[in-house]
């Protein structure tokens, strides 16, 4: 396992990746003082995911983890300030609404789209494939390629409103079937979340104490 040279150290690696992709890739890598390389590769087209993952599978890479998140909207306050400066200078431009910020691949950064990162271990190095998916969108499941994608994909499907199509066993992983889908996308009162219940008697004491405090 450790005898194979890390494929990402090969000078052709980035060329190989680009040859498999139908659209552009944003690639960035860094090597630390111990010689461990971490490579970040953002896909402009999410359909390029399967061909790239197949390459990693053939090179005996291990899918370590899949991270999902909903990146927040880029800071609006700063944009407003810039606009103010502009409108002070030239007033003709007044009503141009700011275009929504887009990711590298053109997915709208509206705070609801998902950023999915596949973390692959290639010997001592790490390759991270970054894919953007609009809300309620879907990605092809990597479970047929990597057994280790099974649990992470099921976990993401129960927490967010996205689907990994073609997952062989898309059951809930940690959360019970009775819990509504996409829990991480909703605001839930803490008492509901913690399933906290209190008696009527407690509330009558609390309201009585509050009234006594007011008078």
């Amino acid at each position: 396992m450790t005898d194979l040279p890390s494929m990402i150290r090969s000078p052709n690696f980035v060329t190989d990746l680009r040859a498999l992709a139908t659209r552009d890739l944003a690639i960035d890598s860094a090597t630390d003082a111990h010689g461990v390389t971490v490579l970040w590769c953002e896909l402009a087209n999410s359909e390029d995911l399967v061909p790239l993952a197949t390459l990693f599978r053939n090179q005996k890479a291990r899918l370590v983890m899949v991270t999902a998140s909903q990146p927040p909207k880029p800071d609006e306050e700063e944009e407003d300030e810039e606009e103010d400066e502009e409108t002070e200078g030239e007033e003709e431009n007044e009503t141009a609404p700011p275009a929504p910020a887009l990711t590298f691949g053109g997915t709208s950064m509206d705070g609801t789209s998902y950023e999915i990162i596949y973390h692959f271990a290639v010997q001592g190095d790490i390759v991270n494939l970054i894919v953007h998916v609009p809300q309620s969108g879907s990605l092809p499941s990597l479970t047929p390629l990597f057994r280790t994608a099974d649990w992470p994909e099921r976990e993401i499907m129960e927490l967010y409103g996205m689907v990994f199509s073609g997952h062989p066993n898309p059951r809930r992983l940690f959360l019970d079937k009775s819990i509504d889908p996409a829990v991480l996308e909703r605001l839930i009162p803490f008492s509901t979340l913690a399933n906290a219940a209190s008696t009527q008697e407690l509330w009558s004491k609390v309201t009585a104490a509050a009234k006594a405090g007011e008078s």
């Binding site: 396992m1 450790t2 630390d32 003082a33 111990h34 010689g35 461990v36 971490v38 970040w40 291990r62 899918l63 370590v64 983890m65 991270t67 998140s69 990146p71 927040p72 800071d75 990162i117 973390h119 271990a121 010997q123 001592g124 190095d125 790490i126 991270n128 990597f146 057994r147 280790t148 099974d150 649990w151 992470p152 809930r172 992983l173 940690f174 959360l175 019970d176 991480l184």
Partner: protein, 365 residues
């Protein structure tokens, strides 16, 4: 009667079961006494810590991550701090890096002894169980003497460590290791030769190398199934390039091999501890005040007692991380149980489940 024994049944094991330390539910199909299928149902201690982490500042998350897991408690803030330091471009002082190795390896000794002790308990060899727990107690006392705590060491901070060793503590440390080592060697030789242990653990819960690779197992489970994989060697951090582990790989893939690997690694940790205490350079243990961490992302890996631990951190403009995610070593190892349990005897379920050294609270977060 003999006809009914050959029929197949489905039996529940867990979520609360005398032989499981934490809640996990296995639906086991059996044919007579032999297991023919396993379905794992998780989620009994799901706590939402990943969400909580995005509501805490980076400094607060050092405290929070230490509480994800009790036995690997030091590895979590350790990996988290490595990710923060990568984004911030911070270089931990030499002495701090050595002290991090010392904290991590001492946790490994205690954690591995705990799992091996539970194995003796499940085998029904209570005297050995109590003896191994007593030896582990020496490691616990040492942790309490050096760090002030038996489980959560509170040793790590962003930029280095929160603790330092003076001459007196170092002497206590070395003397304690001198007492521990022969006892662990004796335990190792007992596990290698004792009939009761061997009858219940050899060729039980076998995980073949190709299945181990497919499941992506890590740590002692991987190394007992013929996979040469240790993050301290494959992707060194701290000063592990100067203090490399002696990686033992066994091919059998049974419960016994996993126990032997853990005992070997407890002894190897003592060797690393001695070398680190001897080479410990002078200087500051941390960077003091930490500059503002810019927006960015990083992944970091460390070898926890149970295997590879991976952290992903994405920082934004605020003090709180935009996303913090981690993959604990138990997470892929659960899947391997479906291979280990298949064809095993019902009476061996608890022994096999314990042999992956499962941590449920950190699997489900």
């Amino acid at each position: 009667m003999s006809a009914s024994l050959s029929e197949s049944f489905t039996i529940p094991v867990g979520p609360l079961h005398v032989a499981l330390e934490e809640p996990m539910y296995f639906r086991v199909d059996v044919e007579g006494e032999t297991i023919t299928g396993v379905d794992i149902n998780a989620g009994h201690v799901h706590r939402g810590i990943e969400y909580l982490a995005t509501k805490r500042s980076l400094a607060q998350n050092v405290v929070l991550t230490e509480r994800i897991c009790s036995l690997c408690s030091n590895s979590h803030p350790e990996s988290f701090a490595l990710a923060v330091e990568t984004i911030g471009g911070l270089k931990v002082p030499e002495r701090g890096a050595y002290l991090r190795v010392i904290a991590g390896e001492l946790k490994r000794v205690a954690s591995n002894l705990f799992n091996v002790a539970i194995l003796a308990h499940l085998v029904g060899y209570e005297a050995l169980f109590m003896h191994v727990m007593q030896v582990r107690e020496d490691a616990q006392d040492l942790k309490e003497a050096v760090f002030g705590n038996r489980m959560n060491l509170g040793a790590i901070c962003i930029g280095g460590t929160r603790y330092d060793l003076d001459g007196e503590t170092t002497d206590i440390f070395v003397a304690s290791l001198d007492r521990l080592e022969p006892k662990i060697r004796e335990i190792l030789s007992t596990y290698k030769t004792n009939g009761s242990i061997q009858r219940r653990t050899r060729e039980v819960g076998v995980l073949r190398t190709d299945d181990a690779e497919a499941c992506g197992v890590v740590g002692p489970v991987a190394r007992a199934s013929g996979l040469h994989h240790d993050i301290r060697e494959a992707a060194p951090y701290h000063v592990y390039d100067r203090l490399p582990p002696e990686v033992l790989v066994l091919e059998e893939g049974d419960v016994w091999s996993r126990a032997l690997i853990r005992l070997h690694e407890a002894l190897d940790a003592i060797r690393i501890l001695r070398a680190a205490l001897k080479d410990l350079p002078d200087g500051p243990v941390n960077l003091g005040e930490i500059p503002e961490i810019p927006p960015g992302r990083a992944v970091s890996r460390s070898e926890a007692p149970r295997g590879e631990l991976l952290y992903y951190l994405k920082t934004g403009e605020t003090e709180e991380p935009e996303r913090l995610k981690w993959r604990v070593p138990s997470f892929p190892n659960w899947d391997a149980l479906t291979f280990m349990l298949n064809g095993a005897k019902v009476a061996d379920i608890a022994i096999i489940v314990n042999s992956i050294d499962p941590c449920i609270s950190c699997t489900e977060r």
